[in-house]
Amino acid sequence: MALIEIENLTVTFRAKGREVQAVQDVSLSVDERESYGLVGESGSGKSTILRAICGMAPVTGGTIRIGGQPVPTPRGRAFSTEVQMVFQDPYASLHPRHTIDRTLSEPLAIHGMPDRDARVVQALTDVGLPPAFRFRYPHQLSGGQRQRVAIARALMLRPKILLLDEPTSALDASVQAEVLNLLNRLRAEQGLTFLMVSHDLAVIDHMCDRIMVLQHGRTVEEITRDDLAGARMTTPYARSLFAASADRMLEGSERPAP
């Protein structure tokens, strides 16, 4: 049985009498310990799917099941011990006036967990930060360090599922490599399941086993990693995304004639 099952999900935003269907009739299922990627351009609805899972988007149709059970509304405490999210912008997703220690121990306090001290130190060590960082504020950290803290925060409750919303798009290329390596190591060590969103096909390809291409809120194509690498996509849109991305690669691509 798949760990995450989404069937015919539809999300509709209503504002000033206008209706926008951000996600239309999207279905997907992710097995335990699998890494699944959602790729598409701005407005394709990829982030909205993650937000819908967390109860942060107005779902108007379809079902979301985690471990076979439909998710409750509101999501509740049990949900947050199963599913956590890492956001795109590490500058916006950490509380600027809370120390790292406070950010990391808050979920433990809410859930009444013991050994907060030891767990915070362990969480920092897990993401490769020195324990002394506990007493710093977000503005005293670099972008990559902040994203490590955001990942540590998401893992505090030992969830099974991590929803990753463009976790490296705000970072430099070399820092991106470090964070991607960290995520892969944590997935192996903690047996995590990833549902990851990115606009960068190469990043998704590096991280995920199966990939769904979205456009205008609809599924365009679902493709395995091997088929992507072999350029065996069946729809023109997926091919154009691949071409725009492969274009940027140096090997095997011709420079456009001047």
Binding site: E41, S42, G143, D172, A173, S174, V175, Q176, A177, E178, L180, N181, N184, R185, H199, D200, L201, A202, V203, D205, H206, M207, L228, A229, G230, S240, L241, F242, A244, S245, A246, D247, R248, M249, L250, E251, S253, R255, P256, P258
Partner: protein, 273 residues
């Protein structure tokens, strides 16, 4: 003679905790070609671009042994002389249309403002020229875009509006600072081909500043790789894969590739340089 000549450029900020050197001795010359400047955050690439227009505010200071544009000394030019250069002969496209367009002016007014004030054109002539500029950057419905406010445009449209605005005075040199990093890949490809066409058709010089090594390599003729305020390597874009400097190699290798191996990505060893 080259269009732009920069010798030993230094940009220093005097802060409470002492001097911070953002650019520490950068030299390059540019003809009618596409020069890429790549580096990570804080490498000084944006400061180098802004220095050419002397757009660095105190406490920042620009020093150089020489900085000339088309034979004119821009290091010691008066503010009045600089104003005559800015926009008219040297244009600059900024990174983010959300912050660089005036949010309370329609696109049409922003595009025609310069034409009417600087070139003294009448309303009808200015509007016609602005619409032509929007068409040149492949905006399909220029009349609607002229009436729109920046928040009513998508990122790609906003970026194209900024490029159109910079191209109206037909500058000889265009400095584009991350002109496509806020855009989707397919839109990015479109904006680049527009820039490419303009460089080719108008014989413009282009300084293309970006953090994306692969993009720069594909788009430019020559690449300067910057790190901590210094140029660590200068290389023809076609030969980028044969780059020698460990920093350039590190930047190239740490990027994931479609169909690449599933091993951990090589990480830049910052202690090395």
């Amino acid at each position: 003679m080259s269009l732009l000549e920069v010798k030993n450029l230094r940009v220093t900020f005097d802060t409470e905790t002492g001097k911070v050197e953002a650019v520490r001795g950068v030299s390059f010359s540019l003809g009618h070609e596409r020069l890429g400047i790549v580096g990570e955050s804080g490498s000084g690439k944006t400061m180098t671009g802004r220095s050419v227009l002397r757009l660095i505010r105190p406490p920042g200071r620009i020093e150089a042994d020489a900085m000339t544009f088309d034979g004119q000394d821009i290091l010691h030019a008066s503010e009045r002389e600089m104003r005559a250069l800015r926009g008219k002969r040297i244009g600059m496209v900024m990174q983010d249309p959300k912050y660089s367009l005036n949010p309370v002016m329609t696109v049409g007014r922003q595009l025609t403002e310069g034409l009417r004030l600087r070139d003294g054109l009448g309303r009808a002539d200015a509007t016609a020229k602005a619409i032509a500029a929007l068409e040149a950057v492949q905006i399909r419905d220029p009349a609607r875009v002229m009436e729109a406010y920046p928040h009513e445009l998508s990122g790609g449209m906003g970026q194209r509006v900024m490029i159109a605005m910079m191209l109206i005075p037909e500058p000889e040199l265009l400095i584009a600072d991350e002109p496509t990093s806020a855009l989707d890949v397919t839109v990015q490809a479109e904006v680049l081909s527009i820039l490419d066409g303009l460089v080719r058709d108008r014989g413009m010089g282009l300084i293309f500043i970006s953090h994306d090594l692969r993009l720069v390599a594909r788009f430019c003729d020559r690449v300067l790789v910057m790190h901590k305020g210094l140029v660590v390597e200068e290389i023809a874009a076609a030969h980028l894969m044969e780059a020698k400097h460990p920093y350039t190699r590190g930047l190239l290798n740490c990027l994931p590739r479609i169909g690449g191996p599933r091993e951990p990505l090589p990480v830049l060893d910052r202690a090395g340089f």
